[in-house]
């Protein structure tokens, strides 16, 4: 099964092998190698890598809709944030009476706002399984409704991209409001533990890192499976010649809504893994700029390859960590410059270099 999914996917085989090796090596180097040894991986680095992995899953989700289906979504940050909020709500409920106000029924920010009881939409979030369903369901339902309206009216191209920006911006404004009941400006934070394990503990952090890696692997395999299926061929046909696809009998809208929804669910899962590792979720995650950044990761990594998205997300975010440390103000300019350079000189992104190399080698084999 696994082998058939990855057949003819050299880039994916390499990427997943490296990822798997990292998932095994990093915990060992953290737990077994004593601190002070140059080979020791400190826990903060484990968590940083875990965060990059959640971005990688988010980038895979965007590549599925943009690279293969041709829909430039500039709103995937919203689905990521919604998944993150669903996880954040569970983590808030886990705090119980250990908050500053010691109220066993209400999160601190609600006590602060003088609320007397838990709003209905917080019900159930004290149960992990319920929160996990919401992590997938909320972004999924939103994407389904949005897609159903937009794709049935045959909104495409720039107009669709603008609508997705508007979607995330609208959510940004809504979540900023205290009355919404999601902690307003400050968002949700001060989490204590997950499933009873302290979020500060090394073991928990390593578990979250591994869970993020597994999510990337599973998300990758799922998307690859979709792309390899006939559904995937229809999806690429829609990207290349939408109206022609209609004339051979495919209901393009249904395909678009389906893929968009699956992609949003993956983004939601990424957000849910992100929040316990960074320890906070606030409305800033809905910022339209975030969604644009994701698209840039994918463009730099290489569209329509899936592994390129992973590569792009990790490399760009690693650079971001390094450069915001050195020159905090210049990062956005750097990112912009990188994007322009890649678009001009590497239209197929970093993955394109590998493919070019492969093409040259195979053409040599032909002449030899």
């Amino acid at each position: 099964m696994l082998l058939t999914i990855l057949r003819n996917d050299r880039g994916g085989q390499i990427m997943l092998s490296v990822l798997l090796a990292t998932l095994i090596a990093v915990p060992l180097l953290n737990l077994l190698v004593p601190a002070g040894n140059p080979l020791h991986v400190p826990t903060y680095l484990v968590t940083l890598m875990g965060k990059y992995l959640t971005y990688a899953l988010l980038a895979i989700a965007v590549d599925l809709v943009w690279g293969y289906l041709g829909i430039l979504s500039l709103g995937h940050g919203a689905f990521f944030a919604l998944g993150g909020y669903a996880m954040g709500m569970y983590l808030m409920r886990q705090i119980g009476d250990r908050g500053v106000y010691g109220n066993p029924d209400l999160p601190d920010f609600m006590v602060f706002l003088n609320w007397k009881e838990l709003p209905w939409f917080w019900y159930g979030f004290d149960m992990f399984w319920f929160a996990m369903i919401m992590v997938i369901l909320v972004p999924g339902v939103l994407a389904f409704l949005f897609g159903w309206l937009a794709f049935r009216s045959r909104v495409t191209g720039v107009y669709l991209s603008i609508m997705t920006q508007a979607l995330t911006y609208a959510l940004l404004l809504a979540f900023f409001r205290n009355e919404m009941g999601f902690g307003g400006n400050n968002g949700l934070t001060d989490f204590k533990d997950i499933l009873g394990f302290s979020l500060q503990a090394d073991g928990t952090r390593i578990a979250l890192f591994i869970a993020s890696g597994i999510a990337v692997i599973a998300g990758y395999l799922l998307c690859r499976y979709i792309i390899n299926s006939k559904l995937g061929r229809v999806v690429v046909a829609i990207r290349d010649a939408e109206s022609r696809t209609r004339f051979v009998g495919y209901k393009v809208e249904n395909y678009k809504v389906w893929v968009f929804t699956v992609s949003a669910m993956l983004a939601g899962i990424a957000g849910a893994l992100y929040v316990p590792q960074v320890g906070i979720i606030n409305p800033g995650e809905f910022s339209p700029l975030n969604s644009i950044e994701i698209v840039i990761w994918v463009a730099i990594g290489g569209r329509a390859t899936l592994y390129g998205a992973v590569l792009g997300a990790i490399l760009v975010n690693y650079s971001k960590t390094v450069f915001t440390g050195l020159m905090p103000e210049s990062w956005l300019f750097m990112l912009g410059a990188l994007f322009v350079l890649v678009t001009l000189y590497l239209p197929q992104g970093l993955a394109g270099i590998v493919n070019q190399f492969k093409a040259r080698r195979s053409s040599k084999q032909v002449t030899a």
């Binding site: 979709i226 299926s229 006939k230 559904l231 061929r233 229809v234 690429v236 046909a237 290349d240 010649a241 109206s243 022609r244 696809t245 209609r246 004339f247 051979v248 009998g249 495919y250 209901k251 393009v252 249904n254 395909y255 809504v257 389906w258």
Partner: protein, 263 residues
């Protein structure tokens, strides 16, 4: 994602050609920014018929096909597929699945897919999302692909991306896509543009052999080609039917001569 109401209606609705005709176009009108591209057009195609449609550039031939396949909605008029299927109420995929296939004037194939994949995509069958996720080519379908590739002479290009084909080969591939769709009614817009004489003869042979079981409507400018296949010819001019009859009748019709000489 279930199919819309319309689609379920159609799949239950069988094509009814008990009155001989498979396609009824009545009093159709289309205008683009005040310009009447289709003007009170009425046209009937019989089951099993091979009909050629000629007419000068801009006569409305392609627009007529756009109406039949759901791409353009007319301002007024009727379009029925058999006795019972109202084409004007349907979307492009619903019409395609009801059994109307089309080859475009400008060859449009799925360029980044291989030749065989193009045929797989066009093949008749269940085209819903969930079904596609699980779909595997059956032996019969594989056989149909191989057989069609032989018919259109592209067997050795099985794994080639369609975008790498020559113009003529793309024409053939599009004809192949039409064949695997197994429609009741085929609309073929300028099939031999860019083909050699030999290829034209083969296309003529193929279209003639298809008629009978299916109905075929061919739009073509090449008079020699039309003459070689035509049974009945319809001349369109300024969006309506100018003349109809055998090739000889039409060519000797003074109005037709005037239109063609006046060009």
């Amino acid at each position: 994602m279930s199919d819309g109401e319309g689609a379920r209606f159609i799949t239950e609705q069988k094509l009814d050609t008990s009155h001989k005709a498979i396609l009824y176009l009545e009093d159709l009108n289309v205008s683009f920014d005040g310009f009447k591209a289709i003007n009170n057009l009425s046209l009937y195609i019989d089951k099993g018929e091979l009909r050629c449609i000629i007419g000068p550039n801009g006569a409305g031939k392609t627009t007529m096909m756009d109406i039949i396949t759901g791409k353009t909605k007319p301002d007024s008029g009727q379009a029925w597929f058999g006795q019972t299927i109202d084409l004007l109420k349907m979307t492009e995929p619903e019409i395609a699945n009801a059994g109307i296939g089309r080859k475009f004037q400008k060859p449009t194939v799925f360029e980044s897919h291989t030749v065989a994949e193009n045929l797989e995509l066009a093949m008749h069958g269940n085209k819903s999302v969930w079904y596609s996720l699980k779909a595997k080519l059956t032996g019969t379908q594989q056989f149909l692909i191989d057989d069609t590739l032989r018919t259109i002479g592209l067997t050795e290009h099985y794994y080639r991306p369609a975008g790498a084909l020559s113009h003529g080969q793309k024409q053939w591939l599009e004809i192949g896509m039409l064949l695997v769709q197994e429609p009741h009614l085929m609309l073929v817009d300028e099939p031999v543009a860019g083909m050699t004489h030999q290829e034209m003869d083969r296309t003529a042979e193929l279209l003639v052999s298809l008629a009978g079981e299916r109905s075929v409507v061919v739009v073509e400018h090449d008079m020699e080609f039309v003459r070689s296949i035509a049974d009945k010819v319809t001349v369109l001019h300024q969006g309506s039917v100018l003349a109809e009859g055998s090739m000889d009748e039409v060519q000797n019709d003074p109005r037709v001569i005037e239109v063609y000489l006046g060009e």
